[in-house]
C-alpha cells in the first residue's frame, strides 16, 4: 500500500511537470499580455515598461528557467492583472465552485443510481423507456441554453428563485459559504441543477449498463435460488459489481466540473474558478493559466487515486498492486 502511494505520488509530480511545461509553451503563443492589459492607444514606451514589469523582456528560455526555479520555491508567480499570487486567486474562488459541484454531484448520484438500477432490472417497461429517452434529452441539452431557460422560468416569470450571484454568505475560516443561509441555498439551486442534469443522465445510463451486464451472471441466479429477496439481490449483490465504471466516471466528472464549470458559472454569475480560467486566457494572464492547469492536473491525479482505493472497497477482489 505504502509503495503504491509513493508510486502514485511520483507519477503525480511527473504529470504536473509535463503539464506545466506544455502549458508554458502554449501561453507564450497567446497574445502579448502587455498589449491586452494596457489601453489600445498605449505608447510603445508604456508597453515596454509593462513588459519589463511582468518579466517578459527576457527570452522565453530565460523565462522558463526562472519559472522552474520559482516553482521549486513554491512560488507560481503573481497575476499580471490582479498583481496578487496566482494560487491565492484560485483558492479564493474554490469554495464557491466546490459548493455547486458537490451539490450537483450529490443530486445526480441520489437520483441516477436508483433509477439506473430500476431501468437495468426492468429494461422493457414503459417507465424505463421513458426514463431512458429523457436521459438522452438531458445529455444532448446544451448547458448554456438550459441554464438560461431555468433563469427565465424561475427568476423572471415565476420570481421564485434569484437569477444570479451567491446571495447571503457566512464566512467560515475565511471561506465564503452560501449553503449555510436560506438565501444562499436559494441561490445555489439553479446552478446546481444545471450542472447536475448532464451528470445525472450519464450516470443513469452507466448504472443501467452495468446492472444489465451483472444481472446475467451466474452468481445472481444463485442468489435468487438461495432465496435472497429481490431488493437485496439488486442492491446488495448486483449494484456493488455494477458500480466500478460508475465510480470511475463519477470521479473524473467531479474533477472536470470543479475546474471547468465555466459555462454554468458565467450564466449564473457564480464567482467560481472556471470563470477565472477563461478570463485569464482572454487577457493572457500567464501565471494564472499555468497555476490553474497545474492544479487541475493535480486534482485529476488525486481523484484517480481515490477512485482506485474505492475500487478495493467496492470489489475486494481488486488488489492495488
Amino acid at each position: 500500500m505504502l509503495f503504491y502511494v509513493i508510486k502514485r505520488f511520483v507519477q503525480m509530480i511527473i504529470v504536473i511537470a509535463i503539464v506545466a511545461t506544455i502549458v508554458f509553451i502554449f501561453v507564450n503563443m497567446l497574445g502579448d499580455p502587455a498589449v491586452l492589459l494596457l489601453p489600445p492607444e498605449a505608447s510603445p514606451e508604456e508597453l515596454a515598461k509593462a513588459r519589463a514589469a511582468m518579466g517578459l523582456d527576457s527570452s522565453p528560455w530565460e523565462q522558463y528557467k526562472l519559472f522552474v526555479v520559482n516553482v521549486l520555491h513554491g512560488d507560481l508567480g503573481n497575476s499580471f492583472v490582479f498583481r496578487e499570487p496566482a494560487m491565492k486567486l484560485i483558492f479564493e474562488r474554490m469554495p464557491a465552485t466546490l459548493e455547486i459541484v458537490v451539490l450537483a454531484m450529490f443530486i445526480a448520484a441520489l437520483i441516477a443510481i436508483p433509477l439506473g438500477v430500476y431501468v437495468g432490472a426492468h429494461p422493457n417497461t414503459f417507465v424505463s423507456r421513458s426514463i431512458l429517452s429523457l436521459s438522452l434529452l438531458c445529455i444532448s441539452m446544451p448547458t448554456f441554453w438550459f441554464g438560461i431557460v431555468l433563469i427565465l422560468v424561475f427568476s423572471v416569470q415565476l420570481g421564485w428563485l434569484p437569477s444570479s450571484g451567491r446571495g447571503e454568505v457566512i464566512i467560515v475560516w475565511g471561506m465564503r459559504l452560501s449553503f449555510l443561509t436560506w438565501d444562499g441555498i436559494k441561490h445555489l439551486i439553479l446552478p446546481a441543477i444545471t450542472l447536475a442534469v448532464q451528470q445525472l443522465a450519464t450516470q443513469l445510463r452507466l448504472t443501467r449498463a452495468g446492472m444489465m451486464e451483472v444481472l446475467r451472471q451466474d452468481y445472481i441466479k444463485f442468489a435468487k435460488a438461495k432465496g435472497v429477496s429481490p431488493h437485496d439481490v439488486l442492491y446488495g449483490h448486483a449494484l456493488k459489481n455494477a458500480l466500478i465504471p460508475v465510480i470511475t466516471v463519477y470521479g473524473l466528472e467531479f474533477g472536470g466540473l470543479v475546474v471547468f464549470a465555466t459555462i454554468t458559472e458565467t450564466i449564473f454569475a457564480w464567482p467560481g474558478m472556471g470563470k477565472l480560467l477563461i478570463d485569464s486566457i482572454n487577457i493572457s494572464d500567464r501565471p494564472v493559466i499555468i497555476a490553474y492547469l497545474m492544479l487541475a492536473s493535480m486534482l485529476f491525479v488525486v481523484i484517480n487515486f481515490i477512485v482506485d482505493i474505492l475500487y478495493t472497497v467496492v470489489d475486494p477482489r481488486i488488489d492495488l498492486r
Binding site: G31, V35, L38, P40, E41, A50, V81, V156, R166, E168
Partner: protein, 522 residues
C-alpha cells in the same frame, strides 16, 4: 448512529464558532448595478480599465469633475481644484479646495496631488496614460500646486478630469499592498469590500464636502452573460445595467418596471487601410491598390452603412464619416458619412484599372467588439458587390492587437477608436502621425499613414496653449483624413442602459460611467 450524530454536532459547532454573519443592507436605500465585467484593481492609479474606473469615480475625487447633460455633453466643474491658471505655455497653477478630508480623517493637501500624479507616472499597468502630457508637479504651499507640461498643452483641464487623488499619508502608512486592500479617497462613497467576480460594495460618505449622496449604498455586480444581466434587471435584483443587448432592448423598454436609456457612445468603428506602402502584405499581385485614391473612395462608398446598422445592430448605432464623436475636439459638423453609391464605386474601380476588382486580406477580430463577426461579414458582402473581394482573416480577440500592432503584417483591419476624453488629438497622434519621426507619436500607426500636412497640423495642435487653436487644427486634420479616405469610419456605437423606473440616471460618454452621486432613487 450515535457516533455519527455526535460527530455532526461537533462539526456544526466548529462551523458556527468560525462563522460571522454579514449585516444586511436595506434594499430600498441600495443601488445595485449590473456591469459587464469585474474590476481588475481598486488602485485608482494602476489601470485604465472600465470597471476599475467605476470604483475610482465614486471613492475618489478628480481635480475637476465632468458633469453630463441629457444629450451627453459635459461641463467641467471644480472639484478638488477650485481654480486653474495658466502662468506660461507650459506652467499651470492649481488652487486646491480647503477643508477636505480623506475617509480616514487625513486632511487633503497639495502633497497628495503631487504624490498621486507621481503614482500614475510610475504605473506599469496602464495608469501612466492618464498623466502622459505632464512633466512634473510641485507643491508650492499647502493648497497650491504647480504643474509643468512637456510641451504647451491646451487641454490640461480635460486631463485633470481623469486625475483622481489618493492619500499620501495613508500610502506611507500601509504601503502598496495596503492600498490594494483598502483604498482611501475623498469621494462621495467609501470603499467597503470587493469580493472578486461577485460584488463591490460602496457606502455613502456622510462627511462628503460636496453634495451629500442620496443613495446610501452602491453595489456593483459583474454579470458578464448578457441574458443573465437582463434577467437580473427584469426580476428586480439589480436596478441599473450597462449594455442591454440589442435583441433585448425592446423587452426591457416594454417591461412593467424597467426602461432603456440609450445615447451614442464614445467608440467609432472603422476600417484602417494601408494607403502608403507600395507593397502591402495583404495584396499579392504587385502594387498596393489602395495607393489610388479612387480605389479608396470606391471602398468607402461601396458600404451601405444604414443597412448594416438596421440589420446587424437593430438600428442601435449611428453612421459616421469621422473618428471624433459629436462634442469632442476635432469633430466637424459638416462631415457626413460617405454616401452609399455602388454604381459610382464600380465606375471608380474601372477608372483606376481594376475593372474586375481585386482581392485583399482584411484582418478582423473575433468577438473583440460587439457583433464584429456579422458586421465584418456584411461589409465584405457590400465590397464584393462592387468587385472588391475582402478575404476575412479572423483573429482570436486576445491575439488581435498583438497581430496588428507591429503594422507589418496588416493591410487593412477593423478597429474602434474612443473619444471618451473629449479630444481626438491623442488618437490622431498615435494613429496618423508618420512613424518613427517623433518620439511618442505614430506608435499605433499600423497602416503606415504618412502625410506631412497632417504631421504639421498635429504638431501645431500640440504646441499651442489655446484651446481654440487646437480645436481648429484637429478639425483640419479630420477634414484631410476624410478627403484622403485615409480611414473608413463606419458607425458610432450606441450605449444602451437598462434601469428600473424611478431611477434618476444620466449616462456619461466617457470611461467613467457610473457616478453614483449624480443618481437618485425614488
Amino acid at each position: 448512529m450515535k457516533r455519527i450524530f455526535i460527530l455532526m454536532l461537533a462539526v456544526a459547532m466548529l462551523v458556527f464558532c468560525g462563522a460571522s454573519a454579514m449585516a444586511a443592507p436595506t434594499r430600498a436605500e441600495t443601488l445595485v448595478i449590473g456591469t459587464t465585467g469585474d474590476a481588475t484593481t481598486i488602485d485608482p492609479h494602476a489601470s485604465n480599465s472600465m470597471w476599475s474606473n467605476n470604483i475610482t469615480i465614486n471613492v475618489f475625487d478628480p481635480l475637476v469633475r465632468k458633469v453630463f447633460d441629457k444629450e451627453g455633453k459635459f461641463t467641467l466643474v471644480p472639484s478638488l481644484a477650485t481654480k486653474w491658471e495658466q502662468k506660461s505655455d507650459t506652467i499651470w497653477i492649481l488652487t486646491l479646495r480647503e477643508g477636505v478630508k480623506f475617509h480616514n480623517g487625513d486632511p487633503f493637501t497639495a502633497d497628495d496631488v503631487v504624490f498621486s500624479i507621481k503614482r500614475y507616472k510610475d504605473s506599469t499597468t496602464g495608469g501612466a496614460g492618464f498623466v502622459q502630457p505632464i512633466a512634473s508637479a510641485l507643491a508650492l504651499d499647502t493648497y497650491k500646486v504647480q504643474i509643468r507640461t512637456h510641451a504647451p498643452y491646451a487641454i490640461l483641464v480635460l486631463d485633470m478630469a481623469d486625475i483622481y487623488i489618493s492619500s499620501k499619508k495613508h500610502f506611507e502608512k500601509v504601503g502598496e499592498e495596503g492600498v490594494l486592500k483598502q483604498p482611501v479617497g475623498t469621494g462621495p462613497y467609501k470603499f467597503v469590500e470587493w469580493i472578486k467576480e461577485d460584488h463591490i460594495t460602496l457606502d455613502a460618505n456622510d462627511k462628503y464636502w460636496g453634495t451629500k449622496p442620496n443613495i446610501k449604498r452602491a453595489i456593483m455586480r459583474p454579470l458578464k452573460n448578457d441574458a443573465t444581466r437582463v434577467a437580473a434587471l427584469l426580476s428586480g435584483e439589480v436596478d441599473l445595467i450597462y449594455n442591454v443587448p440589442v435583441r433585448d432592448i425592446d423587452r426591457v423598454a416594454r417591461g412593467a418596471n424597467t426602461e432603456v436609456k440609450a445615447i451614442p457612445g464614445p467608440d467609432v468603428m472603422h476600417i484602417n487601410i494601408d494607403v502608403t506602402r507600395q507593397k502591402t502584405p495583404g495584396y499579392k499581385n504587385g502594387k498596393n491598390p489602395f495607393l489610388d485614391p479612387r480605389v479608396r473612395e470606391a471602398f468607402a462608398i461601396a458600404i451601405d452603412r444604414d443597412s448594416i446598422i438596421r440589420n446587424v445592430y437593430g438600428g442601435h448605432a449611428y453612421p459616421t464619416g469621422q473618428l471624433p464623436i459629436p462634442g469632442a475636439y476635432g469633430y466637424v459638423e459638416s462631415i457626413k458619412p460617405y454616401p452609399y453609391n455602388p454604381e459610382k464605386a464600380r465606375q471608380l474601380l474601372k477608372e483606376a484599372g481594376y475593372p474586375n476588382g481585386f482581392e485583399f486580406v482584411w484582418d478582423v477580430p473575433q468577438q473583440r467588439y460587439f457583433n464584429d463577426g456579422p458586421c465584418s461579414q456584411a461589409i465584405a458582402g457590400f465590397l464584393a458587390k462592387v468587385g472588391i473581394k475582402a478575404k476575412l482573416n479572423m483573429i482570436p480577440s486576445n491575439q488581435y492587437l498583438s497581430y496588428i500592432n507591429p503594422g507589418d503584417k496588416t493591410t487593412a483591419f477593423y478597429g474602434a477608436s474612443g473619444t471618451g476624453k473629449g479630444d481626438i488629438g491623442y488618437w490622431y497622434n498615435r494613429m496618423f502621425y508618420t512613424r518613427d519621426k517623433k518620439e511618442g507619436a505614430g506608435g499605433s500607426n499600423r497602416t503606415h499613414y504618412s502625410n506631412p500636412t497632417v504631421d504639421k497640423l498635429l504638431d501645431e495642435a500640440d504646441s499651442t496653449a489655446d484651446v481654440k487653436v487646437r480645436k481648429a487644427k484637429l478639425e483640419e486634420v479630420t477634414k484631410i483624413l476624410y478627403q484622403d479616405y485615409a480611414i473608413i469610419p463606419i458607425y458610432q456605437y450606441e450605449e444602451p442602459y437598462g434601469l428600473v423606473k424611478g431611477l434618476d440616471f444620466t449616462p456619461r460618454v466617457d470611461a467613467f460611467i457610473f457616478d453614483v452621486n449624480t443618481m437618485q432613487k425614488k
